[in-house]
């Protein structure tokens, strides 16, 4: 009997835990499973405010339920005339002062974290040799895709942000067309990309994205920006510093790709039709009309959200408006199936990690 009860207890505990965990969402995009310092600060603030607010709800509901039970006319009789109380200064003072105290308890950490998270003074710090001490990424949001430039490293990529772990990564955010908003839910709060000014903030990534379901964190556009706002996703790869340095070296080496003569049909076709908008070298200028494809083969998605298969890639190329309404890439219907296969194969081969 006792044993059964214990088992039942254990079971209910497990059930509660499961519900709780399910309530936390998925690791790669849930704010409730923070994977970095900024997100954790915000999560702690969430816990603090939720606790206080649940207390308020509890008090209100208690008084509410008691009065509902005690003071029903069906109990007191139709003719009962209650005393017409004007009010009570003591009570009113109590429920003015206690909320003020509660608000203060929340206000102090809010103000503290506002300043802490808004502090980008170390962004431009340089060491004795004039090299930047911190990694800075310039983010440009464009109609339904994201460009990431590493100005101090001289490389550009798109759609998939690659960052080192356990250090502050600073971001310069701007939009090229209409306003967007840069959000990596699991790592930290969002900041808008305005059209007229650069916004700056930092994030810290503390979890290796390798351990995640798709091997990436999910990034979102959080500001309505047109028909395909919902599809303006990007992905984030985090890795230890040493791995990141290797990645940077490999990226810097892609500059040679431009010099090579075409070796495949796919590359030739790409050079004829696509290179005007899409670079395949990570070295160079930002501000291209289309996403940089230097690391296309390493990426997790086609067009930011479609499965990373040759099939979906071909679908995308031939009918861009169907998959991302309102985006600026024209549909390429002139290719034969064979040519499409060649382009897809070429793109899938663009890699710095393999």
């Amino acid at each position: 009997m006792m044993k059964g009860l214990k088992k039942w207890r254990l079971f209910s505990l497990l059930a509660a835990l499961t519900v709780f965990l399910a309530g936390c969402g998925q690791e790669e995009l849930s704010t409730l499973l923070p994977a970095g310092e900024v997100g954790r600060d915000q999560f702690n603030l969430l816990m603090l405010t939720s606790a206080i607010m649940l207390l308020v709800i509890f008090v209100v509901v208690t008084i509410y339920v008691i009065s509902l039970i005690r003071f029903r006319r069906s109990k007191l009789g139709e003719d009962h005339i209650p005393e017409q109380v004007e009010g009570s200064h003591t009570l009113e003072l109590i429920w003015t002062i206690i909320p003020i105290i509660l608000v203060l308890i929340m206000a102090v950490p809010s103000v503290y974290y506002t300043y802490k998270l808004g502090d980008v003074s170390a962004m431009d710090a340089v060491d004795e040799d004039g090299n930047a001490e911190n990694l800075v990424v310039d983010v440009t949001a464009k109609l339904y895709w994201w460009e990431f430039e590493y100005p101090d490293l001289g490389i550009v990529t798109a759609q998939e942000l690659v960052v080192p772990m356990d250090e502050k990564v600073y971001f310069n955010l701007i939009a090229a067309d209409v306003k967007h908003s840069f959000w990596i839910p699991a790592v930290g709060g969002k900041l808008d990309t305005n059209v007229e000014n650069v916004n700056k903030f930092y994030l810290v990534f503390e979890k290796d994205s390798k351990d995640l379901k798709d091997g990436v964190f999910y990034g979102k556009c959080a500001e309505l920006c047109g028909p395909s706002h919902a599809l303006m996703d990007f992905k984030v790869k985090t890795m230890p510093r040493a791995e990141f340095d290797n990645w940077v070296t490999a990226m810097q080496a892609t500059g040679d790709r431009v010099a090579d003569t075409a070796v495949s049909q796919g590359e030739e076709l790409f050079a004829q039709s696509c290179i005007g908008c899409h670079a395949v070298s990570a070295v160079g200028e930002s501000g291209a009309a289309g996403p940089n494809l230097a690391t296309f083969g390493d990426r997790n998605r086609v067009a930011g959200y479609m499965d990373h298969t040759e099939e979906d890639l071909k679908n995308w190329i031939t009918d861009t408006q169907k998959y991302k309404p309102g985006n600026t890439m024209p549909s390429f219907t002139q290719f034969s199936d064979e040519e499409l296969d060649a382009i897809a194969a070429y793109l899938m081969g663009l890699s710095v990690e393999k």
Partner: protein, 624 residues
């Protein structure tokens, strides 16, 4: 115009309503207009939820979805919630202060017709195939980039409707300042009148900036200005500030009258004086004041800098204090009372937990660093629906049931009312509670679809089921209204039997001059005081029966608004057609001529003769 019902043709009846300046008729027209747009906005909401029922759904296209969310938000706020509340303010507030009409009956009618024509203008966009698609906030980089005439419909439609709102606000302010009956001091005014007063003051200060913002948008889109084009030196953040300087007080413009409605209902159905009346008044005024200090909390992620964010964060949290005072005062009103759970009371009781939940999530978002996560996620969708549906819409439904007998002389079915509440209330929580978690799980708002595999499927499914339940609830309400109107069982002055304020001392519905004699007000809840002292009618007159001065009806407001409506189309098509400019000028000319006519033609009103008033009094059996 006579109070004796005459057999009239349909055309004459329509003309009578079109030209009416009677605050009761104007109020009913506001109500009908608002309910019509409420249904439109509701259909849009259902389509939104059905699209989000499953991942990768393609019930509506991406472009259409953006049009739906834009029109849903704009319609519900400006064309449904506000006009419906205006309907109640118009009908009830003058009765509560013992006035025979509002201060400016002509302007009252003008405000109504501007709202109607503005609303029609905005919704005609569906027929032109160019629908606003940049969200109800219409942030300008997107609104300027938006192709077609969609955003033009938004800018001009809201400009016309917004003008009507401003006129109504000024009118209510002057009515309350100047037209209170003898003895009705400010601190004896019913809570609904007080909240009308404060909400009107908010309108006065919130809508002029929006007028300018909409003009800027109009000029940018149609007349070559560069306010928001950053390549020409413009700045889109100006729009965000202007929009939220209007947009935040707007929320209080909606919720304060809702507070007023619930204050009345709690006190009537608990048979107890509102607890801490003066604190309630003070809290209302304070909320109104603070409402103007917090607009930038909608812009925490815009990059205003930590100092601005910190200031606005603290100011936002501060609003929790007066709001908390209100909640506890309501609780203490029912504490020790004699609670009768009628349909209006049921809504009021449902309101408390719902609104508290919406309020506390508001405070959470006030913590700026936390808001970086919550902003523009589904959490915020959940939050503002909790305050607007859980606060304003519940108040509207409560007021419909509560004042229906006063307005139409017959009671809505209590049984069906409770069925409505049951479906709507459960559906509401089902729809929006889970959306808090969708926000936590990383779902941005305003997404037309979502991919599978992000853990959002079940929650979205539940949410849509809830939305359908709300639709069922509303349908029952409509059925209730139809059945009630068909049955038409007449009621007396005070059908709830516990009425405390002056509207319950006049017949249901009241005669067009409201009061045969202006009442004398002897305290807060004056009708209750009279009844407790044995005066069954609840009414003490302050004057003998005399001739009553009433305003004349007029068709001019209709034509003034029509002129603006026509001019709007001219402005929109000015650049691309040859007739655009002509139509613009003709429309403005029509408005101008109508206005000049009003200015030049004397309108002194007329008198209802004493004998006629006495005859009415007699036919009602002598009681007032």
């Amino acid at each position: 115009m006579s109070s004796v019902a005459q057999k009239r043709g349909f055309g004459a009846t329509v003309y009578d309503w079109m030209t009416s300046v009677d605050h009761k008729k104007v109020g009913i027209m506001y109500l009908l207009g608002g309910l019509f747009f409420f249904i439109l906005g509701g259909i849009e909401a259902m389509l939104i939820r059905l699209q989000l029922l499953t991942p990768n759904n393609d019930l509506v296209s991406a472009g259409l979805f953006n049009e739906l969310i834009t029109m849903h938000g704009t319609t519900m706020i400006f064309l449904a919630a506000m006009p419906i509340l205006f309907g109640f303010m118009n009908y009830i507030m003058p009765l509560q202060i013992g006035a025979r009409d509002v201060a400016f009956p002509f302007l009252n009618s003008l405000g109504l017709w501007m709202f109607i024509f503005g609303g029609i203008f905005l919704n005609l966009s569906w027929f032109f195939g160019h629908v606003p698609d940049s969200g109800w906030t219409s942030y300008t980089s997107l609104a300027i980039a938006s192709e077609g005439h969609g955003m033009d419909f938004y800018a001009i439609g809201l400009q016309i409707a917004g003008g009507g709102t401003l006129i109504a606000g000024i009118n209510f302010l002057v009515t309350i300042i100047n037209m209170r009956a003898p003895g009705m001091t400010y601190m004896r005014m019913p809570m609904f009148t007080w909240t009308t007063f404060v909400a009107s003051a908010l309108i006065l200060f919130a809508f002029p900036p929006f007028t300018i913002g909409l003009f800027m948008l109009t000029f940018d889109r149609m007349f070559g200005a560069n306010f928001f084009d950053h390549t020409m030196g413009g700045n889109t953040i100006i729009w965000e500030h202007i929009f939220w300087i209007m947009g935040h007080p707007e929320v209080y413009i909606l919720i304060l009258p809702a507070f007023g409605i619930f204050s009345e209902i709690f006190s009537v159905f608990a048979r107890k004086r509102l607890f801490g009346y003066s604190a309630m008044v003070f809290a209302t005024v304070l909320i109104g004041f603070l409402g103007f200090m917090v607009w930038a909390h909608h812009m925490f992620t815009v990059g205003l800098g930590p100092t601005a964010n910190a200031i606005f964060a603290v100011a936002t949290m501060a609003i929790a204090v007066p709001t908390g005072v209100k909640i506890f005062n309501w609780l203490l009103t029912i504490w020790g009372g004699s609670i009768k759970v009628t349909t209006p009371m049921l809504y009021a009781l449902g309101f408390i937990p719902s609104f508290v939940m919406g309020g506390v999530t508001g405070v959470m978002q006030g913590a700026a660093p936390l808001d970086y996560q919550l902003h523009d996620s589904y959490f915020i969708v959940a939050h503002f629906h909790y305050v607007i549906v859980g606060g304003v819409v519940l108040a509207i439904f409560a007021a419909l049931h509560y004042w229906w007998p006063k307005m139409f002389g017959t009671m809505l079915s209590e049984k069906l009312g409770k069925v409505t509440f049951f479906f709507f209330f459960i559906g509401f929580h089902l729809t929006f509670l889970i959306q808090h978690w969708l926000g936590f799980w990383g779902m941005p708002r305003r997404v037309w679809t979502y991919m599978d595999g992000q853990g959002w499927n079940a929650a979205n499914y539940i949410s849509t089921i809830g939305a359908l339940m709300m639709a069922v609830g509303f349908t029952v309400l409509v059925i209730n209204i139809i059945i009630t109107t068909a049955k038409n069982v007449r009621v007396t002055n005070d059908p709830w039997e516990d009425g405390r304020t002056l509207e319950w001392a006049v017949p249901s519905p009241p005669p067009f001059y409201n009061f045969t004699q202006t009442p004398l007000v002897r305290g807060l809840d004056t009708v209750w005081i009279e009844k407790m002292e044995g005066n069954k009618s609840g009414f003490t007159p302050s004057e003998p029966v005399v001739d009553i001065h009433m305003p004349n009806g007029s068709i001019i407001p209709f034509f003034m608004s029509l002129g603006l409506f026509i001019a709007g189309f001219g402005a929109m098509y000015r650049a691309e057609t040859t007739w655009g400019l002509t139509v613009l000028i003709l429309g403005l000319l029509l408005s101008f001529i109508a206005m000049s006519l009003r200015s030049v033609k004397d309108d002194l009103g007329y008198y209802v003769k004493k004998e006629e008033v006495l005859r009415d009094l007699k036919s009602k059996g002598g009681s007032n």
